[in-house]
């Protein structure tokens, strides 16, 4: 059986919030948000200290990785082709192996002159055997 409306309990209903409260609250929230700089996703990323630190750390790690790889080979001139006499003249360990010595030498005129001058100016060597 349907009960008639109870006029007594009707009077006990909670009061309705003021109709302008919702608008005022939202407006205040919007104002507060604007005061904080309007934190959209980009702003939150921009302001986040952990994210900044993570970015700096990852860049540092990647740069370090590049440096390590970059020193994979020593930087210096490569060994290149050159005449054997020149290579043998480098006087390194390998030169002992590849130095085949010049077999014959035909001295050009200026060399002969130098040699002759040297002979003329140098005093005769003393030999142990003076007999």
């Amino acid at each position: 059986m349907k009960q008639p409306p109870d006029s007594v309990s009707d009077g006990l209903a909670p009061p309705v919030p003021p109709s302008a409260l919702r608008d005022r609250t939202l407006q205040a929230a919007r104002a507060a948000m604007t005061e904080n700089g309007g934190d959209d996703i980009w702003s939150r990323l921009w302001k986040s200290r952990p994210i900044r630190l993570a970015w700096a750390a990852s860049v540092a790690v990647l740069l370090f990785g590049h440096m390590v790889i970059g020193t994979g080979a020593p930087s210096g001139p490569p060994d290149t082709l050159r005449p054997v006499m020149a290579a043998a003249g480098l006087r390194d360990e390998l030169a002992k192996v590849i130095d085949v010595e010049r077999v014959t030498i035909e001295l050009p005129a200026w060399e002969i002159r130098v040699s002759r001058d040297r002979v003329e100016t140098e005093p005769p060597t003393t030999n142990e055997d003076q007999s």
């Binding site: 921009w46 994979g72 020593p74 490569p78 082709l81 590849i98 010049r102």
Partner: protein, 368 residues
């Protein structure tokens, strides 16, 4: 309505891009590095035959001082298969050894580390590394390959800028294998090490492009064969000792003929550096005649490089007649069927040597 670009968004996008680019580049470089090295750690399956036993009756002593030797190529007359046959691996051993190229190879640091681990061997062998050195072991199967070809498979022919491999690294390996072989009690294991050294020498001489490679190859054969001789002597194997001594006897003549050919084209005695730093060539025509005559009879490709380098200097500094003659020679070589010789000669025609290059080529005799 067009909105104004958000500067924060732009900065963040740039920051993320930087991380992505740096990461991508690092990944790519690591991949290249891995590709260059890891794929070459183990060569494909290979086999090395034991040399056929030779008897004293079938061995001959090549007469390098006989007149007939003048027409011989600067090669062993004794069949080196009798002492150390090459392996049958199908990879190019040059690909492995090029990794250790000085200052350029992706594993140049490994080669430098190996050099720092060296110590003086007993006797006159020189600097070696321990017999169980990791890199020494890693290189072993590569010497069991049938071929070693650097040009043009590994290095391009770029005239005087043509790169060469790390020969001291290879020489250290040769000495170390031989030292280990001579030290080990088991003669079979010892001979195997010495043969490995000889095989490295044979591979280095195989290509016949660079004289220095050939001379180091000759040195490797020398070192390995001396090891074989010592083991044979210790074990009382006179036939093997005889074979080794015949091969050893062929080394000095080959170096001598090489020296003669190099001396024939050497310009150093005729070049002089002026105080201003420029060069002057005072070369008699008969020296050019000798060079031309030598080229006529050349059969070994490696000597052409020496002729071409010399020719490029004469073409720049010789008398007008010498320049004309040598240009003719270089043009002839530039049309050669062998692309290695032809490319090199063409480079010489196109790139007259600078004073700086001449100073590198002829450093000592002129500085007086």
């Amino acid at each position: 309505m067009k909105t104004a670009p958000n500067p924060v968004r732009t900065i963040i996008t740039a920051a993320v891009t930087i991380v992505l680019v740096l990461g991508g580049l690092l990944g790519a470089r690591l991949a290249v590095r891995w590709w260059q090295t890891s794929r070459l750690v183990v060569p494909p399956h290979h086999r090395v035959e034991t040399p056929r036993a030779s008897t004293a009756s079938e061995l001959e002593v090549p007469c390098w001082s006989c007149p007939s030797a003048k027409t011989w190529p600067v090669r062993f007359q004794t069949d080196l298969d009798l002492i150390a046959p090459l392996g049958d691996g199908t990879s190019n051993a040059a690909e492995f050894f090029a990794l250790f190229e000085k200052n350029r190879g992706p594993r140049a640091h490994d080669a430098e580390d190996l050099m720092s681990r060296r110590f003086e061997a007993e006797g006159d062998l020189g600097q070696i590394v321990a017999g169980d050195d990791e890199l020494l072991l890693e290189a072993e199967p590569w010497v069991d390959q049938a071929t070693m070809s650097f040009y043009p498979e590994v290095y391009r022919m770029e005239g005087a800028e043509t790169r060469i491999t790390n020969l001291l690294f290879m020489l250290t390996m040769a000495r170390s294998w031989t030292a280990r072989g001579v030290d080990v009690e088991d003669p079979d294991l010892g001979l195997e090490d010495c043969r490995r050294t000889i095989r490295l020498g044979r591979l280095l001489r195989q290509e016949d492009v660079v004289i220095i490679n050939d001379l180091v190859g000759l040195a490797c054969i020398h070192i390995g064969t001396r090891g074989v001789y010592r083991i044979a002597q210790r074990e009382g194997d006179t036939e093997l000792a005889l074979l080794a001594s015949i091969i050893l006897g062929e080394l000095a003549p080959q170096r001598m003929v090489t020296a003669t050919k190099i001396s024939a084209v050497d310009l150093a005695p005729y070049l002089r550096r002026e105080p201003s730093g420029t060069f002057r060539l005072d070369m008699p025509n008969r020296h050019l005649d000798a060079i031309m005559e030598m080229v006529e009879g050349l059969t070994e490709r490696r000597f052409f490089g020496e002729v071409i380098l010399t020719g490029s200097a004469i073409a720049q500094l010789g008398t007008p007649d010498q320049q004309r003659r040598v240009r003719g020679l270089l043009e002839e070589l530039a049309a050669d069927d062998d692309p290695i010789v032809a490319d090199f000669a063409q480079w010489a025609l196109d790139n007259p040597p600078t004073d700086e290059q001449l100073a590198e080529f002829y450093p000592h005799p002129m500085e007086r």
